[in-house]
Every structure is written in structure tokens, then in C-alpha cells.
Symmetry: C2
């Protein structure tokens, strides 16, 4: 199945245009400013006398931001941002070693330790620089950055694959594997694809990680990748690995790799994924944990892991065209990913919890040892490890990547965004207010086309031809098909084995997960019980610019006593639900996705 | 109100006789054996060449055990145990400094650091030795141990109150304050009472704790004790402090002290006490935390804190004779305290959680940093900090302390145990199978007596004369009154502000809290919903030697899907409830006190 890259699609209005404009007009500059403040930009000057010591992952933070800028300027010129990128590229050229090596920390701080410590993010940084270089080449046609990164890739190939004199075999933090596939596609140089395959093939073959503090499953290096059946360890490392595995499965027609990816995907979506599409529930190792272990209050669910899951699903979609991958993309897109940045585009979550109880921050307030490590309750502008903000900057401008696939027989519509696309000689126009409602008009121009439209997961009954989850339309040139997916509030329950959601329900409407916030509903949200038979009413909250939902609900009566005989007395209330992704935009507030029902 | 000490009461049968026999026949020796194995006993030899380095709190572990033995031999001779105690006393005499100072660690390991570090448990160890000495004097009439401790108390008075040349003013871990009150009562030496008052009066007057890792509220030293209104900090330190405050309030008629104790008690029982009577919910600092913060899975609820709460309530009872204190004593006695030791008497809990989910131990299994610090799931024979086991050894033999109070007008019956007591010239006999049922026959012999019997908290309607929670009976010499408190299973809910119990109920029958265990009900107890209108059936489980309860309940259907539309489909099941205190006696097992109801 062929992909349709975002540069062939223009988001022309609606929900995602608003977000793309926000990233372009606010977020890109906001992230840059904080990176500048923290020394990340000047670090590219390689000033050994600087008082600010670069971190081992700073190259990658800035590289992701550069990649995001490339995606922005691919659509529309941004001279100020492009000048910054050009300047950074000049510094990269100036400070790259003659051999091709480029890394800030391991040139400025510890030049003696290059390719010594597997866990020091060198190849991870290299991978993100390569992704940025490829993106900038596509956006501008300028080859310099790409050439510099080819030189670096060649050097990495020499040290790791040919001379084998690096002190480790495979990266501690995966990323370069998928980047090398992009390098291969941009340059046609098959050695890059083979170097990616080398890293994938060697991974987990023999023990190569010696630290005490974690096991090799943290890096998905516990067994060879083709034998892996469960999603384990650090969730971002994991999804980036799975992306490369799927990339290589496609390009080498490697059925063992594909099968491993499919099994791991099922493990994630059946056992280890929050209703929001968030993954990696444990703060320890930022990691996947045991099946059904999905605590809400301490959900780790890193923003980068939500992105990683979408990247992985997209590659699986290209391999199989199975709607289930686009279902998960949609879930993560509108919930676990979108929650990662504020409505004003300036601040970010690293963790995206499904419940916030600010009072609990005080529980161990007197003492430094925390019993529970709680995620932060409001978004901030920059993190010490600030991988997520630039990941958002590169993700949103390229979000149209997930809209379509095609082959000689049909064009497949996976997501719904007001847009115009040019695919294989056909122009496809989507008119829609999605996800405000489920109405989508799709017009095909250029030639007669079979259009296969994914029926969203939340649609209970679809009237019409349905093949493997796609609605099928054979359209003539100029034809328009009008779809109307019913979007009504639905109460959802988790598998009985998800102990943290026992006795609770969540509210979804279309792809959106909803939540309760203290600012609308008062404190102690855990006592609110929705009336299972409530009529829902929908309305637009203009301050959140979002469709909100009101429902009949109950609270118990306040009492002085700590324990009393079970009572059925209730106070009738109206509960207001807002889209999960809009939480924490109105100050610190209790929040919950899962709530009682009776 | 006058106290009736346990040596005036003989537990003659039933529930508590079984436990007293267990402590006498099994636990006392089992705790001694583990203390011997770990070097705690030989440490009293003060062998500087020993390979085993004594801990700073070992004196107190053994002292509590000695106190327990004293209570055992007060009732019935135990030559073997008494010989061990005699030997320990001989070692104490031999190794006590001429000045009176006695501490193993600060003689063998760091003699240069005596009375230097407030947080090193020196005065805490001294206090437990004094309690043991008083108990042994009462039990045997032998004065040697008491005299040695008088010498030590005199030395402490000199250093802390007269010369004021110790490096701190008040103890980091309270205990000596209440012990000095006992020393005063045993010797008549008012200086000991005044030294206790000195420590209480000075506490919190000025900052004297310099560590970073905790604030002064950890030791209840943040403000002067008479100004304290909330239970804060380390729960055992807190309750031992409150005991001494209540002791002094009584003996000095100090209304400010009494008022502080009353306010703190209300804070505990209205905001910070588990349904089991467990207190101190946070592992960080083994401490009280914010109101209503009562997580079940990570409940810290140290066994010693349950004992501390009972000791405090007993003193408050002597001050006020208010039934509410005996209500809490009964709650803690049959639940949070009793759970601390196994049915075979050999192993112990330090923490007494209200929920056990063994699978969660694996959630961070790959990594050393734990996201959640979970209590152990099965009792063990000894801890590195093994304060709880000997506390149990001294508590159970003296449990009759909590049965009665009296004044010139009446005798007050607070707890129900098959027993014979001699109070103020009256013999009182209780015939009862309590807590198996609520039938209690009380016979008075010796003279006409007004008997005031506490009506338990769980009794909904008491037919008869009820004054301030007491049933009043004016009995003639030889009269018997037969009470029958209705004990039926009751579903209890927590205050809506206890977020961790939202939507859940607990089952109590009489004073006993019940729980579900995996061994009876299968895994995933969180999915079990009791039928709110169930008929309960009661039966004796002979393996647990306990009255258990069966109820109609539901589970949801198993499903492969992680999230699905809310369904009302249910599987009918029978749920078996066992008394909370009997949990974890049949191997590692899920357990929960709070469960769903519908």
C-alpha cells in the first residue's frame, strides 16, 4: 500500500488547520525561545568555555525542532525560522569532524568517550539530525544538511558495521534505525537501509548492556527483535524500534519482522493502552508494564510515546492497510497526543495522566521521600529533558501523513480533515467539520476512482457496503460522496481486568474522550456518579473552543463522619464534560477521565 | 476515672484467651528466637569485637519483649522466659555506666556521640527499658531492674533538665515521656513525672532539628504541643506523644493539654483513620498525611501505630470516660491491630494494607526505581526494624487493660471478653463468645453495683436506658445482666471525601471489618460487586477459626477487548468474606476491604 505524504495534501480549514496555524504562529517560536534560553541553540557553537554544559540529548531536541520548521516551510515560507535553521546547519558544518562525526556533548565535554556508552543517546541524536536533514532537503531542495548527515551516516556505518570498533553494537535509544530508512529514501543509497537492518538484526542477539539499574528489556534488547511478542521497556524507545521493524518488513518483505510487529501491536492495544491512546504507564523506566496495569493518577503516558504509537501504526497501515491501525491513530491523535500541548500553544505535558488530584501533591509534603510520584498538574514551557515539545512541532505540520493510502485499485481514506489532496492523478477534497460532527463530503476529481473510507471505531451500525471496515464507493470523476458518521455520547467501560477502572465508565463522543474537571464540577470528582440513563446535551464552550457535554449525575451528601452505614441518598447535579485534550487549560484543577455511574 | 489494670482481670476463655495462649505458647518464644538469630540478644553483652554491629533501636526491641514477658509471668510462671530476662537484667547491670547511662549502640559503637543526635533513639530506648523495668517489678516484686532504670532516669534528668548539656532538648522519637509517668507511679518519685512534663513542655518551643530530609512536624516538634490541633508526622511518635500528653493532663489537671489531645483525637477519627483503626497512611515518614488521604493499596498503617492509637484512646478514656474512645479501641483491636500477626503466632506485618494486589509487584519489575512502594503481601518472622513483633508480645497479655474503668458511683464495661475481674471490692464475671456474637452476661458479686455497659458503635437501636452511650444497670450483689448486641452484617461507606473509597463499600459485622481474598473468590477482586440487597449467610470457617460471611454478588463477563460500550451483563457469584484480621494466612493472595456494590 502506498503512502501519501503530507506535502501532497493541504489542510484547508477546520480543527487541524487551527492547530497547524497555532504551531506555525506560536509554538514553533515558543519552543525555539525556550531552547535558546536554556542554551540548546548556542550549544551548536561548540564553545568549550561556555558555562552551560550541554546535555547528551540536546542535539536531538533541536533537530526535531528543525524538522518541524522544514515541514512548516515546505508548505509556506517562514524566512525568520529558515534563517535560524540555515544558521544551525552552518554551525553543524563548521563543527562536524572531518571523519563525519557530529555530537555536541561528545565533542565539547567528553570527546574521549565517543561511541563508548550505549546509553548516551549518540546514535539517537544522529537519527534525529538525519530526519531533520531529509525533511529540510525535501522542503527546500538544498542538499548541504543532507550531505553532512550522509557523511555522518557513512562514518557510523564504518565504525559499527564495517570496522566494528565502537564499544557497543546497537543503540541504547532507538531512532537512527527509522532515520536511516528515510536517508535511504531521500538519497537512494541502499547502504543506509542495510545499516538500519544491521542495527535491527543485531539487537538482542547478545547481551551488551552492563548497567545495574535496568534490564535489557528496557531497551528491547532482551531477545532478538523477531522473537519479541510483547511491548516491553521504555515506550518511546519501543515504538521507534517497532517503526523501523515495520519499515524494514515492508522494504525487505520480511514476514518474521512483520509478524513480530503485529503481535506486539495486539499486545499494546489489548493490554497496555489507555483509552486515550496513551502508552507506557509506568514512570519507572518510562515504560510499558504488566498487562492491564493502567493506573490513571500516575499514568506516565509520555507525549512522545503517543507520537511513537501513531508513527508505528502508520507504518503497519502501509504494510497491511488494516483499519485497526487507523482506529488507534485516531484515538491517539484526538486524545493522548492532543493533550500534550496547551490551547495557547505555548506549554506542554511530558506525562498525560488520566486523573489529576492536586491535593495529593501535599500528602508527603513534609518529607522528601515521595510515596507516589505524581505527574505535574499543569503544562510547562520547557523540560530539563524537553523531547516532547519539538516532537509536537514536527508532528502537527505533518499530520496529513495519516489521511490516505492508495494502490492501483483504490484510494483509502483513513482520517477526516477539511483538505485537498493530490493522489496518483486524482484530486480529493474533504469538506468536514470533523470531529465536531461526523459529516464528511468527499469529492473526487481527475478520474473515476474507487474510494474506500474507514468507518470509525465508534460507529455502531454502518448502513452501506462495508468491506473489512471500509465503506466502499465507486465514484466518477467529479462525484461527491456524503458520509455522516453518527457521533453520540457513549459510555465506555474497560476490560474487567483493568483494576484501576473497575466500577467506572468513561465518556466518548466520536473519537474524543471526555473528562470532568474541577473548574466546571467542583472538587472531589471521584464522588460524581453519572446517571446511566441520562440524556446528554451538547453545547459549544467558547472559552475552550470545544464541544462539551452535560449529563445528569449524582453526588452523595456531605457528612462529618468518616464511616457510616451505606446510604442511597443522593444530590442531583449536572455534570459537565470537556474533551480530554482540553484539560488543564484553566489553572490547576482536579480532572478525571473515569468516573462512577449508577 | 480510675483504671483497672490487667493484673486484676483474668481472661478465662474465648477469643482473647486463644490469642493470649498463642502469645504465651508461641509468639513470645518465636520473637525471642529471631531476636537471638539477628544478634539482638547477644548485643546486651556489649562485645566490641562482635562482627554484628548493633542498631540504634535494638535496646527497645528487646525491652518491649522483656515487658511482654513480665506481663506473661505476672499471670503465670514461665521459668524459661524469666531466666532469659534475668540474664538480660544482669547484663544491663554489668554494662550500665557508673553514671547510669545505658545504651548498646552508644557504648559499643559510638560512645563519643551520647546525647548528640536527637534522631538516634537513645531516649526512646531508655523509655522502653523503663517500661520493661516497671512491668518486671510489678510482675515479680524484684527491684533490681527498676533501680537500674531509676539510676538512668536520674542521669537523664541531670543531663537534660538540670545541667542542660545534652546536644538536644527533647527526644526525636517520643516514648520516654510516657515511660517516666510509669516510673513515677511505680516509685512515687515525682521528679520522674516532672521530667516527663519537662520534655512535653519544651517540645516545639524552639527549632532543634537540623536535618534536610524532614520537617519538624515529623517529630511533632513544629509548634508547642498545647497548640497542636492536627495529627501530623510519624504516627508512632505521634501517638506515644499524645499518650504522655494525656497522662500529664490527668495528673496535672492540665486543661490545655487535654484540649489539645481531644482536638487531635477528633482530627484522627474524622479525617485520618482507616476503617480498620489503622493510622499513618503514608510510607513517607511512616506518617499521617492530609485529611481523607487513605489509600488502600499503599496504606502504611504500621502495627505499632494501631497499638499507639489504643494506648492513647485508653488514656483519653481515663480522662473523660467518653465511649467514643472505647469505640476506637474496639475498632483498632479487632482489625488494624489483630491483622499484625499471623494465626499461627509466628509472623508479623509491619504495614497493614487494606488491599493487596500481588500482580502489581511486577509492574516495575524490570527496573530498580519503584513507581509505587507496595507493602509486603505476607507476614514475616522478623524485620530489620522489628519494633512491631515485640509490641504485640507486650500488648496481648495486657489487653484486659481496656475492659473497665470505675469511679465511686459505677463500674464501666468497655470491652467484652470472657473474664473475671476484681474491681474496687466487686467481682465481675463476663460470660461471652464475643465477637462471635453480641451476647454478654455480666454477673456482679460483692456488693450492689451500678454497671454502665458501653453500647458498641455498630448497634443501631439499643432498647433500654442509655446514658451517653452506656447502658445503665443498677445491680444487686449476685445479679446477672444479659446483653445481646445485634451483630448483623452491615455495608459501610466512607465519607465522600475519601477519594480512594469512592463508589465502594466495606462489610462489617459487629466490631469486625471483613475482606475478600483471592483464595476464596478468585483473582481480580476489584471487579466483584456485592448485591446491595443480598441476604448474608454466616458460617464458621474451621481453617481460619473464624465466622465468615457469604453474599450474592456479580462479576462482569470476561472480554478480549480493552474498551467497550458499557454493558449491564453480569455473572452471578457468591462472594465469601473473611474477617480482615485473618487475611494473608493462606499464602499470597489478592485482598480487598473496599469493594463495589450495585
Amino acid at each position: 500500500m502506498n503512502k501519501v505524504e503530507f506535502n501532497n495534501i493541504k489542510i484547508t480549514g477546520g480543527f487541524w488547520k487551527e492547530r497547524q496555524d497555532l504551531i506555525r504562529n506560536v509554538t514553533a517560536k515558543a519552543v525555539y525561545d525556550r531552547f535558546y534560553d536554556t542554551g540548546r541553540i548556542d550549544a551548536f557553537k561548540f564553545d568549550k568555555k561556555s558555562e552551560i554544559k550541554p546535555h547528551i540529548f540536546w542535539d536531538s531536541d533541536v533537530a526535531k525542532w528543525m524538522e518541524g520548521v522544514a515541514y512548516l516551510i515546505q508548505e509556506k515560507s517562514e524566512p525568520q525560522l529558515e534563517a535560524i535553521v540555515e544558521n544551525l546547519i552552518a554551525l553543524i558544518e563548521k563543527n562536524q569532524d572531518d571523519c563525519g562525526y557530529f555530537n555536541i556533548f561528545f565533542t565539547v565535554v567528553e570527546p574521549q568517550n565517543r561511541f563508548v556508552n550505549r546509553d548516551c543517546h549518540e546514535l539517537y541524536c544522529a537519527g534525529h539530525l538525519m530526519e531533520a536533514a531529509v525533511a529540510y532537503y525535501y522542503a527546500t531542495g538544498k542538499r548541504k544538511f543532507l550531505d553532512l548527515m550522509c557523511k555522518y551516516a557513512d562514518y557510523i556505518e564504518k565504525r559499527f558495521k564495517i570496522d566494528k570498533d565502537a564499544k557497543f553494537v546497537t543503540p541504547g535509544h532507538q531512532e537512527i534505525e527509522l532515520a536511516l530508512v528515510k536517508m535511504y529514501e531521500a538519497t537512494g543509497e541502499k547502504r543506509y537501509l542495510e545499516l538500519s537492518k544491521f542495527f535491527i538484526d543485531e539487537r538482542g542477539k547478545k547481551s551488551e548492556f552492563k548497567y545495574d539499574w535496568c534490564k535489557e528489556s528496557y531497551h528491547q534488547s532482551h531477545i532478538p527483535v523477531r522473537e519479541q511478542k510483547e511491548a516491553v521497556g521504555h515506550a518511546v524507545r519501543a515504538t521507534y524500534l517497532y517503526c523501523a521493524m515495520a519499515d524494514l518488513a515492508l522494504r525487505y518483505n520480511d514476514k518474521d519482522l512483520q509478524s513480530a510487529c503485529e503481535t506486539i501491536f495486539e499486545d499494546i492495544v489489548n493490554h497496555k493502552m489507555y483509552i486515550t491512546g496513551g502508552i507506557g504507564s509506568s514512570r519507572a523506566g518510562e515504560a510499558f508494564t504488566i498487562p492491564y496495569d493502567l493506573p490513571n493518577l500516575i499514568a506516565y503516558t509520555e507525549s512522545c510515546a503517543a507520537i511513537g504509537l501513531i508513527l508505528f501504526c502508520h507504518r503497519m497501515l502501509l504494510l497491511t492497510n488494516d483499519v485497526k491501525y487507523s482506529h488507534v491513530i485516531e484515538r491517539a491523535l484526538y486524545n493522548g497526543f492532543l493533550s500534550s500541548f496547551s490551547l495557547d500553544g505555548k506549554s506542554f505535558f511530558y506525562c498525560n495522566p488520566l486523573e489529576v488530584l492536586p491535593s495529593l501533591k501535599k500528602r508527603d509534603g513534609e518529607l522528601t521521600e515521595k510515596t507516589i510520584n505524581m505527574p505535574i498538574t499543569e503544562r510547562v514551557e520547557v523540560f530539563e529533558c524537553s523531547c516532547c515539545p519539538p516532537n509536537i512541532v514536527r508532528f502537527v505540520p505533518s499530520v496529513a501523513n495519516y489521511l490516505y493510502t492508495y494502490d492501483q485499485n483504490a484510494i483509502y481514506v483513513h482520517q477526516f480533515m477539511e483538505s485537498t489532496a493530490s493522489i496518483n492523478g486524482v484530486t480529493i477534497e474533504q469538506k468536514t467539520s470533523y470531529p465536531l460532527n461526523g459529516k464528511v463530503e468527499i469529492t473526487v476529481k481527475g478520474k473515476n476512482t474507487r474510494l474506500c473510507v474507514r468507518i470509525p471505531e465508534y460507529v455502531e451500525i454502518y448502513q452501506g457496503e462495508n468491506a473489512d471496515g471500509y465503506a466502499i464507493f465507486d465514484l466518477k470523476d467529479g462525484d461527491t460522496v456524503a458520509l455522516d458518521f453518527e457521533m453520540k455520547p457513549q459510555l465506555i467501560e474497560a476490560n474487567p481486568l483493568v483494576t484501576f477502572d473497575s466500577g467506572k465508565v468513561a465518556l466518548m463522543r466520536g473519537p474524543m474522550v471526555y473528562c470532568l474537571e474541577e473548574v466546571d464540577n467542583g472538587k472531589n470528582l471521584r464522588d460524581i456518579r453519572i446517571d446511566k440513563n441520562t440524556e446528554f446535551s451538547e453545547f459549544i464552550d467558547t472559552s475552550l473552543n470545544a464541544l462539551c457535554i452535560e449529563a445528569n449525575a449524582y453526588r452523595r451528601k456531605p457528612t462529618e463522619k468518616l464511616y457510616s452505614k451505606l446510604s442511597n441518598e443522593r444530590i442531583n447535579i449536572k455534570a459537565k464534560f470537556i474533551p480530554y485534550h482540553t484539560f488543564a487549560n484553566r489553572g490547576e484543577s482536579e480532572m478525571t477521565v473515569w468516573f462512577l455511574a449508577e
